[in-house]
């Protein structure tokens, strides 16, 4: 069965929902790979992000190597230490809850009253961002040297960020339950998906829902995403890169901003400096790492405005303690006035599935009208 324009399959409008149904039938009758078989068209191929996780190397679930002292304490533990229930004293909200909440947004001093466990050990995921091998650099699991990922040192022993932790979990859940987070990349100028020495990667925010495959456990390639150029201009970035043996590597871009919010919050993003992709790409998926120096101030602001103390508590994530650790471990982009580093090296594991990008100038396809 020939499908003339699978691009119109996965919008979330009423028309698009009809199209999705039509294409589901098409997929069942023509084989699962038919949709993405010709995903590269006119040198263009698009992807939509389906999974994202700050890269945390785990030697074991308990983290015996990287977290020999255990995991860090969170808001509940710290509150109990400061204001013990069995003290016999009635604490005021002013001196306890409101003091803690106020300082989460207005960090008063750099010294953390609580011990903070940084991730230990020689290994981490990530990229060599500065081209050097330094004393604080990690070794990648495959043996690559000079891996820059000081964010891992800060978050590696916080339960929320480890596999199955609440940040790790909700970062992905909120990706598909909150359309604000729809992040797209488009490769253009692609002559060959395996080897091409000059391609362009452009990031966008999308406007449509993600669609799962028939199992409900994974996301299917071949959907459509409308590109948001009305509200999402600030999320558009352009990177140059090349594909070698199926691995796309881009040059760093000075500033990359991508959306990340919890449902119900009308804002939220990360800003990464000197960031670059390293993704294994094919006509169905793109998987790999985004490395760069994440801006500390916006990182903490995003955390505090999108992930309340309540939520932080379930992952033993103290925003105040983490904020201090990030400022202490920041290793890039020094402030020209103070000399203090403003960004911290980091890596994010990413997964995308292929999608057809519909730019606003492209006419809508109304397949529903073909129904009898």
């Amino acid at each position: 069965m020939k499908i003339e324009r699978p691009a119109a399959a996965a919008g979330s409008s009423k028309v698009s929902r009809l199209l999705l149904g039509a294409l589901t039938v098409a997929g069942l009758t023509s084989g699962g790979s038919a949709l993405a078989a010709d995903a590269l068209r006119d040198g263009r191929i698009g992807y939509v992000m389906t999974e994202r996780r700050w890269a945390v190397y785990e030697s074991s679930p308990e983290g015996k190597i990287e977290c020999p002292h255990g995991f860090n304490s969170g808001p509940r533990e710290q509150f109990e230490e400061l204001f013990p229930k069995n003290s016999g004293k009635t604490y005021t909200e002013m001196e306890s809850r409101l003091m803690r909440e106020g300082r989460a947004f207005h960090l008063e001093n750099q010294k953390d009253p609580f011990p903070f466990y940084e991730a230990q050990g020689p290994k981490s995921y990530g990229l060599n961002l500065d081209g050097k091998v330094g004393p604080n650099d990690y070794q990648g699991p495959e043996g690559e040297k000079g891996v820059d990922n000081q964010l891992y040192r800060a978050i590696g022993c916080i339960a929320a960020y480890r596999m199955g932790g609440v940040v790790s979990f909700f970062d992905t859940v909120d990706m598909y339950r909150n359309g604000y987070n729809r992040w797209l990349i488009e490769l253009t100028g692609v002559d060959d998906m395996t080897n091409d020495d000059d391609v362009t990667v452009t990031t966008y925010r999308g406007l449509n829902d993600l669609y799962r495959d028939g199992t409900g456990q994974a996301f299917a390639p071949g959907s459509t995403q409308d590109v948001d150029i009305r509200w999402g201009k600030s999320f558009i970035s352009k990177l140059k890169g090349k594909i070698v043996n199926g691995v796309l590597t881009t040059e760093p871009v000075d500033l990359l901003k991508w959306p990340n919010s919890q449902p119900g919050v009308f804002s939220g993003y990360y800003i990464m400096r000197g960031s670059r992709f390293q993704l294994t790409v094919n006509q169905d998926t793109a998987k790999g790492v985004l490395g760069g120096y994440v801006d500390v101030e916006s990182y903490i602001h995003q955390l505090n405005t999108n992930w309340a103390t309540h939520h932080q508590s379930y992952g033993q994530l103290s925003a105040g303690s983490l904020n201090r650790a990030l400022l202490r471990l920041a290793d890039g982009y020094p402030d020209p006035k103070t000399g203090a580093n403003t960004a911290i090296s980091s890596a994010i594991e990413l997964q995308f599935v292929q999608t057809y990008l519909m730019h606003p100038q492209e006419k809508k396809t109304v397949v529903a009208r073909k129904s009898p």
């Binding site: 409008s13 008063e108 604000y180 449509n208 119900g264 804002s267 009208r369």
Partner: protein, 512 residues
């Protein structure tokens, strides 16, 4: 193809109509050939239509709560109407106990009020993170004159038993929410009943919920104590203004929003009107127009009444019209309560009444969050502050008459100066006035955040619903909303939220 509709044929606008005709089914020709539409009509629309028809037309009489001066609504403004616009929401008239009345309000539509014009509120039980509070339906009020002194621990992660702020002048629940006391000879009528309070007094209740006035309401028509808009699960157990049933036909509902009373289908699809329909009750949307727009179908036999009339598209094919304008849904809307269709020139969301315009100088900005926000004259986002305390009484702390301890902690770590720098008040120009009572200029003591005493040096600031509005120092350009979520529970509990008019990703949830 044919589908089932509900007849309005036997419905008249008289009070003594027979309900026997209400459920009579008639066959009408469906305008659409889509199997999907047929499914929805049969499986979803019909039962709802039957149920709501019974409510809407069983002896009901529609009324308006005001007799406004006739004036043309401003066609250039998507979200607001002018103060003299004629648009007011109709409601279903019901028998009220002596002394009660229905008052038209600017944002909430018709609400019940007592003889003094005070808006009536209920406080339905709601579960928070660690427990529930509020009034149970049909049970006595839990709002008492006891001054609660410690927190209830309803909100994670903080424990119960923390001493609440400003204990030396902390009010009781009754101080802020005086119960609506019934005379000893009061008699129940309709949904109006009497429930005995713990102190033995009789309290009026509506639909089983005890009724209160709000200390924040000063004039008839004020609804400062609460709103019908959703507060969100973590916003606290809120008080909700109570009013009569809305006068709309089956198949529609009205969604309370920041821009007014938005009409949708009962499935939540926004309905639109078109400037191209230039004659009352006549549709010019045929052929290519129908690619993008779907007429909202009415049953074949239906009684027109008041704002709701019928467009004859073809023999037996009726389309709803509201105030003479044919209604449509937009085929490219994404989910419910949408404004996508209004992005198409000449098309407008339908409201029973829009909110009144903000004062001169305020603007609307496209926002990175995906939608539009209210902004100041520079285009910088306007924020409002939410707060409810963690007592069982869930007293509001979001206004200048309440404790400022919570707000000061969030915006300035307890420091008023840092607070003003982080969230500066939106200063009103000298002599500024508002034509809408939703907006006002109030004098604020900059150091305490409370109202300034007469003669005291103060800031003249804009207030929405009698609460100051703010900018955020971290918003360095128009269209950013960096402080949305700033505070406890992402700004819903004790913190700041952007004044969002449209939110494409959250289905325009219109958070309080």
């Amino acid at each position: 193809m044919r589908s089932i509709g509900v007849s309005f044929a036997s419905v008249t606008r008289d009070r003594d109509l027979s309900p026997s005709g209400l459920s009579r089914r008639v066959w009408i020709r469906s305008l659409t050939r889509s199997p999907l539409n047929l499914f929805h009509f049969l499986s979803t629309d019909l039962p709802v239509a039957l149920a709501s028809t019974a409510v809407f037309f069983s002896g009901a009489q529609l009324a308006t709560a005001a007799e406004p001066a006739a004036a043309a609504p401003d066609p250039f403004n998507q979200y607001w109407q002018s103060a003299d616009a004629p648009d007011h929401e109709l409601y279903v008239k019901e028998v009220l106990p002596p002394g009660f009345q229905v008052i038209a309000t600017e944002l909430e539509g018709p609400v019940f009020a007592d003889a003094q014009g005070r808006t009536l509120y209920k406080w339905p039980l709601q579960t928070l993170r660690n427990g529930a509070t509020g009034d149970r339906q049909g049970r006595p009020s839990t709002c008492t004159n006891e001054v609660l002194r410690v927190s209830a621990g309803l909100m994670s992660p903080y424990p119960a038993g923390l001493a609440l702020p400003d204990l030396d002048h902390r009010p009781s629940c009754v101080d802020l929410w005086p119960p609506v006391i019934a005379p000893k000879d009061a008699k129940a009528v309709g949904k109006w009943t009497v429930i005995q309070r713990g102190d033995g007094a009789e309290q009026w209740a509506y639909d089983g919920y005890p009724l209160y006035a709000s200390s924040l309401d000063r004039k008839p028509g004020d609804v400062h104590g609460g709103t019908k808009m959703s507060a969100g699960g973590d916003g606290g157990v809120v008080r909700v203004p109570v009013g009569p049933a809305i006068g709309i036909p089956p198949g529609f509902k009205v969604v309370p929003s920041t821009s007014g009373r938005l009409i949708t289908t009962d499935r939540g699809d926004s309905v639109y009107t078109w400037d191209g329909d230039d004659k009352p009750n006549v549709s010019n949307c045929y052929k290519d127009c129908l690619i993008d727009w779907a007429p909202v179908l009415a049953p074949e036999i239906v009684k027109e009444r008041d704002d709701w009339t019928i467009v004859k598209r073809a023999p037996g094919v009726n389309q709803w019209a509201f105030r003479g304008k044919p209604l449509y849904t937009y085929n490219y809307d994404r989910g419910s309560r949408n404004f996508w269709g209004a992005d198409v020139p000449g098309w407008h969301n339908a409201y029973t009444q829009r909110a009144l315009r903000p004062p001169e100088g305020f603007t609307v900005q496209d926002a990175e969050g995906g939608g539009q926000v209210l902004a100041d004259s520079r285009g910088h986002t306007i924020y409002y502050y939410n707060c409810r305390d963690d007592s069982f009484a869930q007293l509001a702390c979001d206004n200048p008459d309440s404790t400022q301890a919570y707000r000061m902690a969030i915006c300035g770590n307890g420091d008023p100066k840092l607070c003003r720098e982080t969230f500066p008040y939106v200063i009103a120009p000298a002599g500024a006035k508002s034509t809408s009572r939703l907006w006002s200029v109030i004098a604020i003591d900059p150091n305490t955040g409370h109202r300034a005493a007469p003669g005291q040096e103060s800031l003249q600031v804009w207030a929405y619903r009698d609460r100051p509005v703010y900018n955020y120092v971290g918003d360095d350009q128009p269209g950013v909303t960096n402080a949305d979520g700033y505070g406890e529970f992402t700004g819903g509990r004790n913190g700041f939220k952007a004044f969002v008019l449209r939110d494409i990703f959250q289905g325009n949830a219109f958070r309080q």
